[in-house]
Amino acid sequence: MSSTDNSYVRTEMLPEREAPTGNVGIVGWIRKNLFPDVFSSILTLIALFFIYQLLAGLVPWLTGGIWNASSLSECREIIGDGPAAACLAVIHERFWQLMYGFYPSDSYWRPNLAFILLFAAISPVLFDGVSRKMFIATATVPFIGPWLLWGGSFWAPVTAALGFVVGYFVYKLVAKSMNNLLALILGPLAAIIWWLVISGYVSSGLASVIPLGLEPVASRDFGGFMLAVTLGITGIALSFPLGIVLALGRLSDLVIIKTLCVGFIEFIRGVPLITLLFVAQVMLSYFLPKGTDFDIILRVMIMITLFASAYMAEVIRGGLAALPTGQYEAADALGLDYWQAQRLIIMPQALKISIPGIVSTFIGLFKDTTLVSIIGLSDPIGWVKLIQSNSEWTGVVWELYGFVALVFFLFCFSMSRSSMYLERKLQTGHN
């Protein structure tokens, strides 16, 4: 009994075998995802057919595109009886106009530099390895950027920045010697007085001692993608803090603040952006005294910022609402005051929750900047129309709009990608 031969029982593991070639690699992937059953296979074939049709038209059209011609009719001559081809010469000839509008060509480095500085400014938020010193860039770019774009005396941004310093010192001084509320009023007041009254004298005084400046460029000359990006970034940068304040105001216990914030948010959200732009362009011209030179781009920036901040406020309020009450109570239990609690506990979590919504608002805002072409500003869409008005290029449609769409896609796609990256980076959950 004991010497039963158990040799049919395997005593060692078989070596692992390769999975059947049909189930792994490309073939496996295709079988699993594209042809798992009859219905899916049919759908796959139909989809492949349409993709082929699209590419068969698009690829030769683009690769056969004509880059060197001075007019649409010349393009057509070159193409002759050959297959349809894109007249990309229009992009070649008008590229800089689509990018910078009427901005003086010897000063293209200024918007470029401003754009690079902007990346330096947001790098501490996006990347871990960046030195904390980069926050200096974040603090200076809001002053240097506009100066680079519009030019003028170097002392204007310096004195503008000094306004914040003045406000801060007054606040500190009053807060130390008298009470906090008074400091909260007097600090900003001092800064406003500085900006409105004193800064003009200081900056012109400094300019007469050390004349340092760039050739001024009128807002009128801003155009193309530079205008879209300038409007978009100003809107994004200003609407974010404004949105936070509005969201907090809406949740505040103070009746007046709450009513004001709710009223503002609901009013702005109840009105289409294009209406606000018409108010900026048309109505304000009637309200302001004749001859007042209130820069049109500034007006549009203000309107876009107000519009975006109302949406931003609601997105952030969503983030605040998603936060468990325990977090608020924990902050209270630690003895933190309102601002400390917001800064250290509530906001970091609420903002993280709202990142997708915030970035959606940013992308929407950036795309909405094309609406300014309706009020006569030459953004990329406006420039497409201006280019089409040259008798050489009348009738070019796909190439120009396609190019604009492509550039917009690049901007929006990279924004959406960085938002996903940021979300992953800030991920603190356990899943």
């Binding site: 011209s285 009637y286 004749k290 009020i375 009738g395 449609v397």
Partner: protein, 338 residues
Amino acid sequence: MKKTVFLGALTIAGLAATAAMAGTLDDVKARGQLNCGVSTGVPGFEAPDANGVWQGFDVAVCRAVAAAILNDSTAVEFIPTTGKTRFTALASGEVDMLSRVTTWTFSRDVDLKFEFVGVNYYDGQGFMVPKELGVSSVKELDGATVCIQTGTTTELNLADYFRVNGMSYDPVPVETNAETQTQYLAGACDVYTTDASALAATRASFEAPGDHVVLPEIISKEPLGPLVRHGDSEWADVVRWTLNALIAAEELGVTSANLSEMLAGTDNPEINRLLGTSGSLGEMLGLDADWAARAIAVGGNYGEVFETNIGASTPIGLARGLNAQWTDGGLMYSPPFR
């Protein structure tokens, strides 16, 4: 005491504002630059070229005015305005004059408080159809689908014309001219209607212009011209007579080629008065003697400006038609320089 200071400041501000309004000519001289409202692009009439320099038939009027006043045809800030923003831009003082394919109508002149200083192009609404439709007159278009730009006088003219003639049509509303072209070429509508000048420009840009015909009927009057604000007649005079100088120069045979020769003095007293070699017409306008000569020097006389921008030798290829001199059977007629 404080109140008085405040009221005083207010009064001065008010006076300053009125003063700023009073003399557009003085403003332009002080600024050293003319703010000219143009459209956001119409082929042949206004568009920036590859170097970002504005070119076109309407643009030439702005440049002539700038040259007459400031002796510099490039001292013009061109401000693009849309059909919706143009009148506000002028009324609010954002631009000194509008020169942007704007039709002179009663309500614009009277109700909107503007002053049309003349006509630089007599246009009218026309129709274009594909040749294969075999239509030779607008009267045969009963029941056709028509691509029509919304919010324009074209839309109203079309409705009027079809009602008067007891015909019906099926409108396809579109927003811009470029969109209209695409729709028309895609066959979304049988008929494309807009101003005859734009029709010609559009047809010229087609791949096969021969496949489309412009019907002979012109169903509306569209006198296009520069306009200024009501209530500043001195300024209106400057713009009006600059335009007239270009028209009169063609009639009198003054061209950019023979201008310097003519400036030396001629036997024709009217030419001498126009070019400022005799008389004091410039002084009466608040300008110097050779204001008109400078305006003509920019792009030549009216006929030359026409030929360079929209004439038969350009892709747009418009015939003079109504825009010929009155001596050639057209409507271009400048009051005498006397």
